[in-house]
Structure formats: structure tokens, C-alpha cells
């Protein structure tokens, strides 16, 4: 009887327990699914928040560019650095594009010697510098005639590169990397692009140019350059401060540099003390998020929209 009892009563209990378990299991599944959905939505919300911060940073960077594009704005103008609140701000670096060497003017002009000297000052030996200058010339000149140390189509083909050199002026600094041997410059001077331009006109701005560029340009000693650079920004060595000397003329600058005024006529046509173009680097900051815009713009007069060259958007 006992056996029979257990035979009939267990299935009933089992069914009752199973239904409760089933309900609990279904609720657990739904709960888990909901929790998963909540986590996913929260993750997406974080992403939206991040994207919004990115957009705000982009907007602030554009605001910086809008200020920097105004004619007459100097790099020390307070509007170029603004804090909207604790989290949001923008800052703009305004530098003269004419402080850089116009690579096309140098390699296509009659005197590329400043370029050669610059490479040597960076640590290349004379032979390496000669080769590189000729190769840069071959890249930009319109002919297929190989310069003494240059490289034309066959040399590039031998290096596995088709359709090079371009035989036209450089359109960007990145294009310079394609010239055979530029890897050596990158080795000795990884930031070499900061010294060149293809956008500003050919006149080097002596008031803004780096010491090493001025040395290479005039083939003068470090001491000569220092006597000029220590004067051009005043005692504190910082431009746009109260101790800056009054407007320096080109003759005064050359005199301080110890460069005779009757030096090479071509060199003198390629230097100046003002800028035709500015490089604007505007960074919008929202918390830890940053967005940087970089644009080359004419520095004087009314700027047309199509005269802007956007390098970073």
C-alpha cells in the first residue's frame, strides 16, 4: 500500500512544484533580458553623451576659427582663448605660415642652397643633402632630365613606384614624403614638416621664422642669428609682449643679422617681415574630449571662403 501510495502521490507534487519553478524561470529570463536591455541602453546613452561632447568640441573649435579669421586679430588677442564654463573652452594658435620655407619656391627657384644648408644643419652630411635637393628638384620640375644626383622615373620604377615623380610643384607636404631619400630626413628630424609650406607666398617672414631656418637661409652663424632673435621679441623672448621693439624694418633686420644689403638679389626678394598667410590651429575642449581644426588662411584683408585650405577638419 505504501508503495502504491507513493506511486500516485509523487507525480501530483512534482507537477505543482514544476509550475512554480516554471514561473520563476520565466520571470528570471524576462528579468535578465530587461537588465541586458537596460545595460545596452545605458551604454548607448553614454555613447550619445560622448558624441554630443565631440560635437560641442567641434563647434567650439569652429568658433575659434571664426575669431581667428578676422582681419587684424593678433595671436595674443584674448578672444582666441575663451572659457565658456568649467568644462567647455577653446583655444587658438595663430602662427605665420610665412615663417616656414616655401618648398616649391626653393626647389624650383635658381638657388636651392638654403634647403641644402637646412638639411646639413639637421644632421645630414653634404652628400646626402646634395642628393636630396636634386631629387626634390626632379620631383617638381616639368622635365624628365635627371639632375646630377637626382631621381627620375627609372629610379622610382627601380624602387617599385609607378607614376613618380609627379613632375609638378608639391601640392602638400605629405607629397614630399614620396621623394626618394626623404626617409633620411624623417630619421634625423621627425618634425620636418613644421619647417615647410606650400601655401604661403615665397617670402620668408623673418619676424616669425625659426632660428635654424634663418641660419640656413642666409648661411650665417648661430651668434649672428641670436643677435637678431634676442632683439626681435624683446628681453623676454616672447612675441606680442610690452617689451617688443617698435616695428622693425627689413633693413634693420638684415643689419642685425649681419647680412649685407647687396647680397643675392633673389634672396632679398624672398624675405620679408610680415605674413601673407596664417595657420590657424583651433582646439575645442569639452571635458576630456577635444576637437582640433587646422586651416591656412590669408592673413590680411577680407578672407573669401574659397581661399581657405582646411588641413584638419
Amino acid at each position: 500500500m505504501l508503495k502504491r501510495h507513493s506511486h500516485y502521490s509523487y507525480p501530483i507534487r512534482k507537477i505543482r512544484g514544476s509550475s512554480l519553478l516554471l514561473v520563476l524561470a520565466v520571470m528570471a529570463v524576462i528579468g535578465t533580458a530587461m537588465a541586458g536591455l537596460l545595460v545596452t541602453i545605458n551604454a548607448y546613452l553614454d555613447k550619445v553623451q560622448e558624441r554630443r561632447a565631440g560635437f560641442k568640441a567641434y563647434q567650439l573649435a569652429h568658433s575659434g576659427v571664426a575669431i581667428a579669421l578676422q582681419s587684424g586679430i593678433q595671436p595674443d588677442h584674448p578672444l582666441l582663448k575663451q572659457e565658456l564654463n568649467e568644462l567647455e573652452s577653446f583655444k587658438v594658435e595663430l602662427t605665420s605660415e610665412n615663417a616656414r620655407l616655401n618648398i616649391n619656391a626653393l626647389v624650383l627657384g635658381s638657388d636651392p642652397s638654403p634647403l641644402q644648408r637646412l638639411f646639413e644643419l639637421w644632421g645630414l652630411n653634404k652628400e646626402e643633402a646634395d642628393i636630396l635637393v636634386d631629387r626634390l628638384g626632379d620631383w617638381t620640375d616639368g622635365d624628365s632630365l635627371k639632375k646630377l644626383n637626382g631621381a627620375e622615373e627609372l629610379d622610382y620604377l627601380a624602387a617599385g613606384r609607378r607614376g613618380q615623380p609627379r613632375n609638378a610643384a608639391f601640392k602638400s607636404l605629405d607629397e614630399m614624403e614620396n621623394v626618394l631619400g626623404m626617409g633620411r630626413v624623417t630619421e634625423v628630424r621627425p618634425d620636418w614638416k613644421q619647417y615647410f609650406t606650400v601655401w604661403a607666398n615665397t617670402k620668408l617672414n623673418l619676424m616669425e621664422a625659426d632660428e635654424i631656418v634663418i641660419r640656413a637661409y642666409f648661411d650665417i652663424t648661430e651668434g649672428q642669428v641670436e643677435s637678431f632673435t634676442s632683439y626681435r621679441y624683446g628681453r623676454d623672448g616672447i612675441r606680442y609682449t610690452d617689451d617688443d621693439p617698435e616695428d622693425i624694418t627689413l633693413d634693420e633686420a638684415l643689419s642685425l643679422l649681419g647680412v649685407p644689403l647687396d647680397s643675392s638679389a633673389e634672396v632679398l626678394t624672398r624675405i620679408g617681415i610680415d605674413s601673407t598667410h596664417h595657420r590657424i590651429v583651433a582646439t575645442g575642449i569639452v571635458g576630456t574630449r577635444e576637437h582640433t581644426l587646422e586651416v591656412i588662411a590669408p592673413s590680411s584683408g577680407n578672407v573669401a571662403k574659397n581661399s581657405l585650405v582646411w588641413l584638419r577638419l
Partner: protein, 204 residues
């Protein structure tokens, strides 16, 4: 033996029922809370995305339109209050300024437009765009398009105009012989969120 049999056939005890119901209620409550959070998060997400998209559209509209202004465009403010915070009724009139944006293609032929603030619901300010054709030779205006609402949940909106010649910002621009060199716009939404942007206006 008969006692045992009876015991096996009886129903659930009161305690069993109470515990089971309590457990189910607890689980149902937790599930309800979870579903509520999911729905709330979803609503927040939708609102944020919508707000974000509106701000992006506004940014593009202002930047694109102002950067394409014609040489002869005139910008004039009307009814600006002294604090610079635009109350309903504040208008910025863009004359000879063609709308060229894609989404507003239907207004492409219109050569002037107005940015206007009007009173919205629950104390909000609405910012709307009114494209309108220039007056014809007889002085009569053609058909006016319905306003296009850009924002309907603004608590404060401020425009400032930059004059590069004097290096000054002003809350009004009444010079019909020249355009400002930049426009600063600050929008505070009813949610408390503030957006600020400065837009360059080319003069060449």
C-alpha cells in the same frame, strides 16, 4: 495508512500560499521597476538624440548659410531687448541672403529670410525661420512660406554681432551698410543645457 493518503491529497497550506504570492509579488515588482527603467532610459535616449540632431542641424544651417552670404546681404536686428536675451518678438532680418541648404531646398529661390523668436508653450521660446521673397517692383510681396520651426523648447536665446573694425561685440546690428564679421549665438534649452557658437561671416 488512510491518514497518510488524506495528507497527500490536501491543498497548499496558508503559509505556502502566502510565501508563493509574496515571492511572485517581489519578483513582479522587480520586473516592473526594471521595465520602467528601460522605458525611461529609452525616452531619455530618444530625447537626447533628437536634441543632438536639432543642434547639429542648427549649427549647419547657421554656419552654411552665413558663410554663403552675398556681398550685398544686409543683416538687421529688430526689437532686441537691452539685456541681449531675445524675448518673443526678436527678429534678425537677412536681406539678399539666399537659403542654399539642402533640407530647405524648397526655399532656394527666396532671397531673404528672417530668424524670429515667438512665444511657445509653458514659457518656452520658439525660434523659427521665415523665408520670404523680396519685394517686387510694385512693392508687393509674393507668397510667404509657413514658418519653419527650428527650436521649440528654448528658455533663452542670445545673438551678438562682432565688428572687427572696432573689435567689439554688440547685441544689436543696425548698420545696413555693412555686415557683422561674426555672429555669436547662445541657446539655453529648457532642460538647462546651453550651446554657444561663433560663426564667421566672410566679406570678400
Amino acid at each position: 495508512m488512510s491518514m497518510r493518503r488524506k495528507s497527500s491529497e490536501r491543498g497548499l497550506t496558508l503559509i505556502e500560499v502566502v510565501i508563493t504570492v509574496g515571492l511572485l509579488m517581489l519578483l513582479a515588482g522587480a520586473l516592473f521597476a526594471l521595465i520602467s527603467s528601460v522605458l525611461e532610459s529609452r525616452a531619455i535616449m530618444t530625447e537626447r538624440v533628437l536634441k543632438q540632431n536639432r543642434l547639429i542641424a542648427w549649427d549647419h544651417f547657421l554656419r552654411d548659410t552665413l558663410s554663403k552670404l552675398e556681398r550685398e546681404t544686409v543683416i538687421l536686428t529688430e526689437d532686441a531687448v537691452s539685456s541681449g536675451i531675445a524675448n518673443p518678438g526678436y527678429r534678425i532680418r537677412f536681406i539678399n541672403a539666399t537659403l542654399k541648404l539642402g533640407p530647405y531646398a524648397e526655399y532656394t529661390n527666396e532671397s531673404s529670410f528672417i530668424l524670429e523668436t515667438v512665444k511657445g508653450q509653458k514659457g518656452a521660446v520658439i525660434l523659427q525661420l521665415i523665408p520670404y521673397p523680396e519685394e517686387n517692383e510694385t512693392g508687393a510681396q509674393g507668397a510667404i512660406y509657413p514658418p519653419l520651426i527650428l527650436f521649440d523648447n528654448i528658455s533663452q536665446i542670445r545673438f551678438e554681432f562682432y565688428n572687427a573694425f572696432s573689435d567689439e561685440w554688440s547685441e544689436e546690428w543696425l548698420m545696413n551698410n555693412q555686415k557683422p564679421h561674426a555672429i555669436k549665438n547662445q541657446i539655453t534649452l529648457q532642460s538647462g543645457e546651453t550651446h554657444e557658437m561663433i560663426v564667421w561671416i566672410p566679406h570678400a
